[in-house]
């Protein structure tokens, strides 16, 4: 069988660091990139006798996420201890939520959610590598600055069916969370981390195949490539008559190699039990109201609103998934709301091309000038190709669109009267093309349009050129 004969089933587990000022269970400031172990206290070092104190803001952020994702908010949720030993885990257990999470269920962009729960992050374990060998083996060094940072863990149902869908959905999740303002959701800095549970099954088979867990892929590109590589690995195993082993895997983006992280003997028994140092988190109606009051318009809602304005769906998605573009669109629209579709197209095609990998703020276009340019185009004052030239200038140095049109001689040419002699000259210069066109084969029309554009420095309108050409040829 080939890859096409299998159905792929993917569920994601996403850890999001919450943008609180302090850690989940202590008053140390959350930090990134500071000197190691400068943000620790008895609680986050797990000193004997210390006790956890849950952060109200983390609960609030968790509620905002749950409400935004359509989860059911538990009136009473419980923190458990997840017991295991690792040097980055100071207490020998992680305080996490287990069978009574803060948020139950939910849905985003067609993917159902299982839950959203709160927990504490582990510390950072830096592998010292060759720097120091302790009794024959390499040493690692623990920095507890990150330890205890609040995390929201989002678990999806296995509703995703391809690597592309996984990375696309994750982008939607990221922009949704960013819009909520509860996290930086920066994969490079680790404030957004994703694990994928992946299985395949022959098409038509009801039960799911054995799943593997692909850990900590730290960019959107790696997620897509990692999942693809793992699917290919599973297909090869099953095709070869083998069986997929349920295990935790690591994807190396440089080599595309997938390796097993833990041997099977290490099968974990986390011995979850309710954290006796804490009492249940009780969510009052006031807390829910406060979280609701802070919910902004979410990307999917914005997308729908833009489509309702007449914006093409593709452009609407780009504008709402890149909020800074959406904000620009809305600001321009506020100065002239007559051409939403064309304005959206200008921003998501032409402007975005010029921004490239940069920022929206790289554009020097003054507020309102994009909407003006769209208006000039719509009025026929400037042709669409002329408009692109104007945009080059607006982007690079700003200015008034109408003045630029004037100054650079980009005023669109009128109709047939002005164009007829130039088109005639083009037909005369290209008799073979003219002959083909006469037979009704319009394919080489581009040659004529190109000739005219060159002659008019782009001021002519391509559609008008075609129309006049047909007239001249009696078509």
């Amino acid at each position: 069988m080939s890859a096409a004969d299998y159905e792929v089933t993917i569920g994601l587990e996403i850890h999001v660091q919450l943008a609180t000022r302090t850690k989940m269970f202590c008053g140390c400031e959350t930090s990134f990139g500071d000197d190691p172990n400068t943000h620790t206290c008895p609680r986050c070092l797990g000193l004997p006798g210390s006790l956890p104190l849950p952060n109200a803001k983390a609960v609030h952020f968790g509620l905002m996420m749950g409400l935004a994702l359509g989860s059911k908010i538990a009136p009473r949720s419980i923190f458990h201890r997840k017991n295991y030993f690792y040097p980055d885990l100071p207490k020998g257990y992680q305080i996490s939520q287990f069978d009574e999470p803060l948020c139950d269920g939910g849905e985003l962009g067609g993917v159902r959610l299982n839950r959203v729960h709160l927990e504490e992050d582990a510390a950072k374990l830096n592998h010292a590598g060759g720097t120091g060998r302790i009794q024959g083996s390499d040493a690692s060094v623990v920095d507890f600055n990150r330890g205890g940072t609040p995390l929201a863990e989002i678990v999806t149902e296995p509703d995703i069916t391809s690597a592309e869908q996984a990375s696309e959905w994750l982008r939607l999740l990221r922009v949704t969370i960013r819009q909520l303002g509860v996290s930086d959701v920066n994969m490079e800095e680790g404030s957004l981390r994703c694990d994928a549970n992946i299985s395949i099954r022959p098409k038509g088979q009801a039960e799911l195949g054995t799943k593997t867990e692909l850990k900590n892929m730290n960019s959107f590109r790696f997620i897509e490539r990692g999942i693809k590589a793992e699917v290919a690995r599973q297909v090869a195993i099953v095709d070869g008559g083998g069986q997929v082993t349920g295990e935790t895997l690591h994807f190396d983006p440089r080599t595309e190699a997938i390796t097993s992280m833990r041997s099977k003997e290490e099968a974990h028994d986390y011995r979850y039990f309710p954290e006796p140092d804490l009492v249940p988190v009780v969510i009052t109606p006031d807390m829910i109201e406060a979280a609701k009051a802070e919910l902004p318009e979410l990307p999917l809602q914005r997308e729908d609103r833009f489509i309702a304005l007449g914006v093409e769906p593709g452009a609407a998605r780009t504008l709402s998934w890149r909020p800074e573009l959406g904000d620009l669109f809305e600001a321009e629209l506020a100065t002239d709301g007559s051409q939403p579709k064309a304005l959206a197209a200008l921003i998501t095609n032409e402007l975005l091309k010029r921004i490239g990998d940069g920022e929206v703020t790289d554009s020097k276009a003054a507020p309102g000038s994009l909407a003006q340019l769209v208006a000039l185009t719509a009025a026929g004052t400037v042709s669409s190709s002329g408009a692109r030239t104007v945009l080059d200038t607006l982007f690079a140095s700003g200015g008034d669109p109408a003045a630029i049109v004037e100054a650079e001689g980009l005023t669109a040419m009128g109709g047939g009267d002005e164009l007829t002699p130039i088109i005639q000259a083009a037909l005369d210069a290209n008799p073979d093309v003219a002959e083909k066109l006469r037979t009704g084969d319009m394919k080489p029309i581009g040659v004529i349009v190109g000739f005219v554009m060159k002659e008019t420095k782009g001021r002519a309108d391509g559609k008008e050129v075609t129309k006049v050409t047909r007239q001249l040829l009696g078509l």
Partner: protein
């Protein structure tokens, strides 16, 4: 006998504080007297003693007037060794102080020593200490009880006017009983657990071990209070009054059949009957009650406490503090297992094993889940009982202090000695032990228990009985 020794022998902490306040007693001289007695202690009651009095002793106008206090080594004390009876923590000096100790110090108490204990509070005899067993000042061949054995021995020997202990399943009440002292375990949540090294988080409570009921009340008044550093602390609902009750007129005392019959040593049963008769003489009426789940309580406790302990003790991994032992290969797993093998004593290992087993996959419901339900039943038993009676009375321990080594080889026999104190721990209610006589020449304790937050009632009743029972709590002071 010097003046100070006779004061130490004759006066309670409350009386000594009054004497300091009146100018009759010099706080610094008194501190030095206790400090030097503690430094010369031969019962192995202390694991650390101050080198000298602090440069600035709390003023005489503070509530506790600079009076020394001995603190169980389970409490974190900034810069002062805090070893919890464990080799793993030998030499550990925490960077912070527990709330309970900080509160006592804020009220004017001055810590002069840290006391020996069963390792991580696991034990009933103080024999499970990496720093050696502690002896009972009433008979050095006997155990002082545990796990706050050092605290009780220190007070009984006159090496501290009073001491701070902790009680998870009886660890204040039982050693107080065995050393002829007053020991109070408050309502769960009355005293902050912040900085107190956890044994079983849902049961641990700090409390006083003292010479008199008034002393226990005084210390509790300065210990309790909701603490923003401990989410499970609630404090008491009313201030602790100086106990003054003399009559027990109108009081109904419940005597649970399950905890007063079989298994109680003859002499202990006799002393208990004398105490009940005294209560009646003071006007109380007695009623036999039933705590149907009292026996199951012991089993539930030996699931819940080890389960929580197994998790609480996971932090002792040789990474951030404590003693590390590495294996020859320098592996992480070897570092963990060697550190914990060498660092923990046999009883701690046994309970970690028991607790890990009870929480492990496939056993959680049968053990931990079931034990949590038994706890509900026990709390219900007490709720029912307190509809009929005001307080409940039992012997604190079915036996007096046994000989050192007598039960060391039989963990289950040791566990069974906590039968009378564990039900109250599981129900979270306050219990107090006061001396009520002797058996085999050793002190016997009377345990009284009241509904949650009933500390004032409990202390009042205990005070009235203490007056008529007239036990000499200074009997072992030399």
């Amino acid at each position: 006998m010097s003046d100070l020794t006779s004061i130490i022998r004759e006066q309670s902490a409350t009386e000594q504080i009054a004497a300091i306040k009146s100018g009759a007693l010099d706080a610094r001289e008194l501190f030095e007297a206790y400090r030097s007695r503690a430094a010369a202690d031969t019962f192995n009651a202390f694991t650390w003693v101050a080198d000298e009095a602090p440069a600035a002793l709390p003023a005489a106008d503070t509530p506790l007037a600079g009076l020394p206090v001995a603190v169980k080594d389970l409490f974190s004390t900034e810069g002062v060794p805090t070893q919890a009876g464990s080799k793993l923590l030998e030499g550990y000096r925490p960077p912070y102080t527990s709330t309970a100790v900080a509160k006592l110090e804020a009220a004017g108490a001055s810590m002069h020593g840290k006391t020996n204990q069963d390792e991580f509070a696991m034990g009933s005899s103080n024999e499970n200490s990496a720093f050696g067993p502690c002896q009972n000042p009433w008979d050095p061949e006997r155990i002082p009880g545990g796990s706050s054995g050092g605290s009780a021995a220190a007070v009984a020997a006159g090496h501290a006017p009073w001491a701070l202990g902790t009680d998870t399943g009886g660890s204040i009440r039982q050693p107080a009983a065995m050393c002829g002292l007053v020991g109070l375990k408050p309502t769960y949540g009355a005293v902050s657990r912040y900085g107190m090294i956890a044994f079983a988080s849902s049961l641990d409570q700090a409390g006083p071990i003292t010479r008199t009921v008034a002393d226990a009340a005084l210390m509790l008044e300065h210990l309790h209070g909701a603490d923003s550093r401990d989410m499970t602390s609630v404090g008491l609902r009313e201030p602790i009054a100086v106990p003054s009750r003399e009559s027990l007129e109108g009081l109904v005392i419940g005597v649970p059949a399950e905890l007063t019959g079989e298994g109680v040593e003859e002499g202990v049963a006799a002393a208990f009957q004398v105490a009940l008769a005294e209560a009646e003489a003071l006007g109380a009426s007695l009623e036999t009650i039933h705590l149907p789940h009292a026996e199951a309580a012991l089993s539930a406790y030996y699931v819940l406490a080890p389960a929580e302990a197994s998790s609480n003790l996971s932090r002792f991994d040789g990474v951030r503090y404590g003693n590390r032992v590495e294996d020859a290969d320098g592996t992480l797993l070897g570092m963990y297992t060697r550190t914990r093998h060498d660092g923990f004593g046999p009883e701690v290992k046994r309970r970690i094993m028991l607790g890990t087993y009870a929480l492990s996959a496939g056993y959680y419901d049968a053990y931990y889940g079931t034990a949590q339900r038994v706890r509900t039943k026990i709390a219900g038993d007490f709720t029912e009982a307190f509809k009929k009676v005001d307080v409940i009375a039992t012997p604190t321990s079915p036996t007096v202090a046994w000989k050192l080594g007598e039960k060391s080889s039989d963990p289950l026999a040791m566990y069974l000695s906590d039968i009378c104190t564990i039900p109250m721990s599981l129900a979270g209610i306050p219990g107090i032990s006061i001396p009520c006589g002797t058996s085999q020449g050793m002190p016997v304790g009377l345990q009284l228990a009241a509904p949650a937050f009933g500390e004032n009632l409990l202390l009042g009743v205990a005070h009235a009985l203490e007056r008529t029972l007239g036990f000499d709590t200074g009997g072992a002071i030399r």
